[in-house]
């Protein structure tokens, strides 16, 4: 057995505190440029042991590329990757540890099961490569298959399984050699929703039970939130925000992130005579202290996220603003109501056409008919303000 990066780390005494622990995976200033194309720019990440890190972003944002760099399937053009404290890729020195000596597990989007090997052969492969003997291999393969609920499937061919079953095999293969780190490349995106929800729950439990450190690439925020300790939002080859899911919801770093996470609509607010109002709706807002106290500067603009969790319905005239219900959607345990807020009186006169309707989403306990008038109440401390650039 060759000493791998993953095992070199075994010498470190396990440390209780995440801040002092050696990061299991660290990515320092990694960038990738091919010809004129910048795919990744200055990525920094550090995963403490047992940490599940999601990389979330739209397609083309560079998340899979980053994962492949960690796997050793690509080399960075700048920066450094360390696994278990050992440098596995360093663009400045040219140091490079090939994927097979990084001691990783990985699950691919297209499963990448080898069609010419049986299920057992697929799952046993990583053990075989580590020189594990035949008898032990057999018990460990059986154990891994049992973990994913496919006991006794050893002799079958991958082609005879359904997509969900194939991905379970791929997961068994990724964990069978008990790697410290497992990489997931959109593992569930090829499955239908029901299966995806079920598998993501199972997968999260499995990863936590095994104490794995995981890097999990996905474009599905539900999956990321369900799985991860922290979620890195990627856009245009950069990490724009890396935080625990709750923090992302509370405080998205910028309007784009807020929209990407589907937290609610973002509108422009303008300051007039020391008070902030939405430009396109008859709604006065109380800014946080950072935006207040600088009055006099008329026509300052900012953007504000009217998140669902910041709004509630009330009777017309009793809230901060009135509006008309556009439609209402029953979501099983609540109704999601779209309300078009009333326009500001003076703006409607001056610019009748140019104003954009301000549609906000509000959660309601009761069914509300389309066209009904309602009042909307705003919880100021749950608003999220963005300084306009």
């Amino acid at each position: 057995m060759t000493p791998t990066a993953a095992h070199a780390r075994d010498n470190d005494p396990a440390s209780g505190s995440a801040s002092t622990a050696q990061p299991e995976v660290s990515v320092d200033g990694v960038a990738l440029t091919i010809g004129q194309n910048t795919i990744l720019r200055r990525i920094d990440l550090a995963l403490p042991p047992g940490h599940i890190q999601a990389l979330l972003g739209p397609s083309g944002c560079g998340k899979t590329t980053l994962l492949r760099i960690v796997a050793g399937l690509l080399t960075p053009s700048e920066g450094k990757v360390r696994i278990g404290g050992a440098t596995v890729a360093d663009a400045s020195s040219g140091a490079f540890v090939p994927p097979e000596r990084r001691g990783l597990g990985m699950v691919f989007q297209d499963y990448a099961l080898w069609p010419h090997l049986s299920i057992g052969g697929n799952v046993a492969f990583p053990l075989e490569m580590r020189g594990v003997g035949g008898a032990e291999r057999k018990t460990r393969v059986a154990k891994a298959l049992a973990l994913v609920g496919l006991s006794g499937f050893e002799a079958r061919s991958p082609a005879s399984l359904s997509g969900g079953q194939q991905q379970r095999v791929a997961i068994a293969r990724a964990i069978v050699a008990e790697p410290r780190i497992v990489l997931f490349d959109e593992p569930l995106s090829n499955l239908d929703k029901e299966l995806r929800d079920q598998l993501s729950t199972e997968l999260a439990a499995l990863v936590r039970d095994l104490g794995l450190t995981a890097l999990y690439v996905t474009h599905d925020q539900g999956e990321a939130f369900a799985m991860a300790d922290s979620v890195a939002i990627m856009r245009g080859g950069q990490i724009v925000q890396n935080a625990p899911p709750e923090e992302l919801v509370d405080a998205p770093a910028d309007p784009e992130t807020a929209e990407f996470l589907n937290l609610g609509p973002v509108f422009t607010a303008v300051e007039r005579d020391g008070a902030w109002r939405l430009t396109d709706a008859d709604l006065a807002l109380e800014p946080p202290s950072a935006f207040a106290g600088q009055s006099g500067a008329n026509s300052r603009k900012a953007r504000v996220l009217l998140a669902r969790r910041a709004l509630s319905l009330t009777a017309p005239g009793t809230g901060d603003c009135d509006g008309t219900v556009n439609h209402s959607l029953f979501r099983g345990d609540h109704h999601l109501v779209t309300v078009a807020l009333d326009r500001p009186a003076q703006a409607a006169a001056a610019q009748p056409v140019a104003t954009h309707p301000v549609d906000v989403l509000v959660v309601s306990e009761r069914r509300i008919r389309t066209g009904e008038r309602v009042g909307v109440r705003v919880l100021p401390d749950r608003l999220r303000w963005f300084a306009d650039a």
């Binding site: 194309n37 399937l73 990448a112 069609p115 580590r130 997509g163």
Partner: protein, 558 residues
């Protein structure tokens, strides 16, 4: 996603393949080029370079020969596609009755040496030939024409296309076509817009191979075309090599013209495939389901039967009829039939048995060596990126365009240099090298198409799970391309066993092969003995692949 910044550096597989290509292909080729430039290279002199090259190139006959070569090559390509593509699609997508049988039968044309097949056709359709003797029909002398040459050659080579396309389409499995139909395409449109484009790599590779085989083949145009005044480059080259005074440089120059043609076809193939991804063996393995033919079963079987009869039945009948006839002039009467010629082979008359053993050993060795080199080369071409890989890729296609006789001359020039301390020349090893050089394109083309269809992640997964590049190649990629590779190795075995043109010139003193033996019998008028030897060879070279197919069939298709 996976290509930028890739880590696939040229590993040991690549270096091994490159070295083998250089020894087997580049060196003989270099000497052909040298011969084209320096007329006296054979005497070890570099005197008067380019002397008279212009005379060869401005010979008015050259235009005619080059044009004829092109007509022949394109004619055979078109006819092969017309016959093979429909059969291949039917075989791959539907439950064709007796499918395994047709596969086996359509392998047989590979086992019939082209010069024998041509002779078989001549003896069948010429006045008083077997066709007249059996059915009373008279086919006239249409065979001795351009059309006749294309006809006979097509029947010999179309299985290349059939097997390549049916394998590719089978891999696609009708799955993508189903998707197309869901989106509103009629079955025919789905075929044209989805399945056909996806099977392009296999189709393009095999058509290129057919083109190269057609413009390089000597026996058929020589036997059928010359009488009609249909001269192609290969016959022109042969005239220069066998007509005193021997004009090796003229032959070399004409060969280079031929190589250019083949490279042209190669470039066109590259353009067709450029910027397309044809991964059809993704990481999601799927079982292949074939559809029943319904009432079309009968016409489909009839089509297979007619094609098989023409490609296999006619030549085999002529070969066996001649082999079993005591005398040619005696015709097909019962008292003229007997096993005398076969007895002569068993009795090792004129070294027949020895020749058989020689050729079979060489055939097996050639198949194994070209298979290994082919897989490695193709891996290098399809799966790695490094400078000079385009050149090496081109090297693998060139032998296909160089007539066997010129390869032989190049090899003699290269390996018979007096300053070489050891040389394979004048040992059986030189024949092995020549066969490997000539036949390397087959495994490379087949494996290229196969590698193109294996998803990137299958290799990436192996690497992540601890396999070194070499292990990933051996355990994952090689087994995945093995079915294709094996098919091409069987082809190589069959062709190497009967290779004639290079063997005639290169055979080490005192050694004969099956083909030189047969050819000698023909040359000395013993057609029956020659045909008996052909029959034995065809039986052997058909049986071996059959056994291999059966053995591999038991393990499952992949």
């Amino acid at each position: 996603m996976s290509t930028p910044g890739t880590t696939r550096n040229p590993g040991p597989v690549v270096w091994g393949a490159a070295a083998a290509l250089i020894v087997l292909v580049a060196i003989p080729l270099l000497f052909i080029v040298l011969q084209a430039i320096f007329p006296a290279i054979g005497q070890g002199s570099l005197a008067s370079p380019f002397d008279g090259v212009l005379d060869v190139l401005t010979d008015p006959k050259l235009v005619g020969m080059a044009g004829n070569t092109l007509v022949l090559g394109l004619g055979v390509v078109v006819c092969s596609a017309v016959i093979a593509v429909p059969l291949a699609f039917l075989r791959a997508l539907f439950q064709v009755p007796l499918a395994r049988l047709w596969d086996v039968l359509l392998l047989i044309p590979f086992m019939i040496p082209p010069y024998i097949a041509t002779l078989g056709w001549i003896m069948t359709v010429q006045p008083n030939g077997y066709l007249k003797q059996v059915t009373g029909l008279d086919a006239g002398s249409y065979l001795f024409s351009i059309g006749g040459v294309i006809f006979v050659m097509t029947l010999g080579v179309f299985p290349v296309v059939y097997f390549a396309v049916s394998r590719t389409v089978e891999a696609i499995g009708g799955r993508y076509a189903d998707v197309g139909r869901v989106f509103g395409a009629s079955p025919f449109t789905a075929l044209r817009r989805v399945t056909l484009p996806l099977s392009l790599p296999g189709l393009a590779a095999s058509l290129l191979l057919v083109f190269a085989m057609a413009i390089e083949e000597y026996g058929t145009p020589a036997a059928l075309g010359r009488q009609a005044g249909f001269e192609v480059l290969v016959t022109g080259i042969d005239t220069r090599v066998s007509d005193w005074p021997i004009d090796l440089r003229g032959a070399a120059v004409l060969s280079l013209v031929l190589v250019m043609m083949s490279l042209g076809a190669f470039m066109i193939q590259l353009r067709i495939l450029a910027n397309r991804s044809f991964e059809t063996v993704g990481g999601k393995p799927q079982a292949v389901r074939k559809r029943p033919l319904g009432i079309f079963a009968i016409p489909v079987v009839a089509a297979f039967a007619i094609v098989t009869l023409l490609a296999v039945g006619v030549p085999l009948f002529a070969i066996f009829a001649t082999a079993l006839s005591k005398t040619l002039s005696g015709g097909l009467s019962p008292d003229n039939l007997g096993f005398d010629h076969f007895r002569a082979i068993v009795a090792d008359e004129n070294g027949a048995f020895r020749a058989l053993v020689n050729s079979l050993s060489l055939g097996i060795a050639t198949a194994v060596i070209t298979g290994v080199i082919g897989a490695a080369t193709s891996y290098m071409v399809v799966r790695t990126r490094f400078r000079g890989k385009g050149f090496l890729d081109a090297l693998t296609v060139m032998p296909n365009a160089i007539p066997g006789v010129v390869v032989a001359v190049g090899i003699i020039l290269a390996w018979n240099q007096p300053w070489l301390p050891v040389t394979p020349y004048n040992t059986p090893l030189i024949l092995l090298m020549a066969y490997c050089c000539i036949l390397l394109p087959y495994p490379v083309r087949y494996a290229n198409a196969a590698f193109r269809q294996v998803g990137d992640n299958l290799e990436a997964a192996a690497r992540v799970f601890g396999a070194s590049p070499l292990v990933a190649f051996r355990r994952i990629l090689f087994p995945l391309v093995l079915p294709s590779l094996l098919a091409s190795m069987l082809l190589v075995f069959a062709v190497a066993t009967r290779e004639l043109v290079a063997s005639l010139l290169l055979a080490p003193v005192g050694m004969s092969t099956i083909s030189t033996f047969i050819w000698r019998q023909f040359d000395q008028g013993s057609v029956g003995l020659g045909m008996a030897m052909s029959a034995v060879t065809i039986l052997i070279t058909t049986t071996i692949p059959l056994l291999v197919t059966l053995a591999s069939g038991r393990r499952g298709p992949m």
